[in-house]
């Protein structure tokens, strides 16, 4: 093989695609205009650092020209080599483009993945209210719920299952109501917690009434009034709305309890 002759002859022309391929690989990996940029980048990119792809291209061109077409004129060999080189360089270009495409594809995959995750989060956030909606109307479910696989289907067990679901739902509501009851696992413990909470509230009422008794007995001498025997009981009138926009001067001359009344009423209106 003596390709140097042909190679030298065809080098100027053959170098263009090589250099282009190099330059294309180095500087324009994504540009599609192969034929247009060839002349412009001809000599300038040739002196750059040679990549592996370029060396293989020149070898291929040399072998292709030197083997069978030695006797041919330069022009034909030139044409062949140039065409081959163009083809190889275009192949390289294709490779690089495909690489870029691959990276793009991978990027798009990543983007797709990100979008997917976002979509999943979106769907997760959007699906939860749906679940809650479906949870919010369980009474309908009782009618539609049938036995799953392996569950008994006679009416007694269906009714029993519905009842159990109802009870567990109420238990969940109670668990939400009682502070610190969400972490407790087990029905008996939850019920114990609820009972403790109720008893603590009742004890709190007792304690507060004791304190109020002490406070009121302190305030008692300043109160003159009208005796009425029935203290507890449902005999209060129905419209208990005393918190109207009345002037405080009315209350100022009233009894202590009325003053309290006003204070508490305003406190409630502020707090809620």
């Amino acid at each position: 093989m003596d390709p140097p002759l042909i190679n030298e002859a065809s080098f100027t022309a053959a170098a263009n695609p090589n250099s282009y391929s190099l330059a294309g690989l180095l500087s324009f990996p994504g540009s599609g205009g192969l034929g247009l940029r060839m002349g412009n980048l001809g000599r300038g990119g040739g002196g750059g650092d040679a990549s592996l792809e370029e060396s293989t291209v020149t070898e291929q061109s040399g072998s292709g020209n030197g083997g069978a077409k030695r006797t041919r004129d330069v022009g034909s060999s030139f044409d062949d080599s140039s065409s081959k080189l163009v083809s190889t360089s275009s192949a390289n270009q294709d490779v690089s483009e495909s690489n870029a495409k691959r990276t793009k594809v991978s990027e798009s995959r990543d983007e797709n993945g990100g979008l997917k995750t976002e979509a999943e989060t979106h769907s997760g956030t959007s699906s939860k209210p749906v679940e809650e909606k479906s949870k919010a109307e369980p009474p309908k479910d009782y009618i539609h719920v049938r036995a799953r696989r392996g569950q008994a289907t006679d009416s007694h067990s269906l009714a029993e299952r519905a009842r159990r679901e109802k009870i567990s739902e109420r238990m969940k509501i109670l668990q939400d109501l009682v502070p610190g009851c969400n972490k407790v696992i087990g029905k008996a413990l939850v019920l114990d917690e609820i009972i403790n909470y109720i008893q603590s509230l009742q004890r709190q009422v007792e304690f507060l009434s004791m304190k109020l008794e002490a406070v009121n007995s302190r305030l008692n001498p300043g109160i003159e009034g009208f005796p009425s025997k029935d203290i507890p009981g449902p005999a209060f009138d129905g419209n208990g709305m005393i918190y109207g926009p009345q002037t405080p001067g009315v209350y100022a001359r009233g009894s202590q309890a009325e003053w309290l009344h006003m204070q508490v009423g305003s406190g409630f209106e502020r707090s809620t």
Partner: protein, 157 residues
């Protein structure tokens, strides 16, 4: 998520969500009115004045709570009945009611049996309504405790 679900549940659940505020207001006004009546009324027996007042205030607290809720809840009905018939009940010996075998282990769960002892009127309910009434009772008790705390706060300072 959990918050919204619990709030939606409580909305669905509570007597009526707007009147939650007015229910509390009702409870406060009734309680204060009965306290005022108590203050104005002369104590029946001067000797045991302190304990009488304490019991009266406690009864007033429960009664205002129950009467604000009204008769649509079983626990409030039971509570009002209990308060109204308090003296009669006291006169009756409580031991014979305690030994009534009908009330022993009505529910399958031990906890529900205990719960029915705590919630007023709980002995006459089935387990499902017992839990419902318990939730409502807890809410009202918490509101009552808050009201009493606020009254105490305003009356002390």
């Amino acid at each position: 998520m959990k918050k919204s679900s619990s709030s939606s549940k409580s909305k669905r659940w509570s007597p009526d969500e707007n009147p939650k505020y007015s229910l509390k207001k009702k409870m406060a006004s009734r309680f204060l009115r009965s306290m005022k009546k108590m203050d104005c009324s002369s104590s029946p027996s001067t000797g045991e004045k302190g304990s009488w007042r304490y019991h009266a205030i406690r009864a007033a607290a429960y009664a205002s709570m129950a009467s604000a809720v009204g008769p649509r809840k079983a626990w409030s009905r039971a509570l009002l009945k209990k308060i109204r018939n308090h003296k009669v009940m006291m006169r009756k010996s409580s031991s014979e009611r305690r030994n009534n075998p009908r009330n022993i282990r009505r529910f399958g769960h031990e906890g529900l049996n205990d719960l029915s002892q705590v919630v007023p009127g709980g002995k006459a309910m089935d387990s499902c309504s017992l839990l419902t009434e318990t939730a409502h009772y807890i809410k009202c008790l918490a509101a009552q405790v808050q009201i009493m705390k606020q009254i105490l706060h305003y009356s002390t300072c």
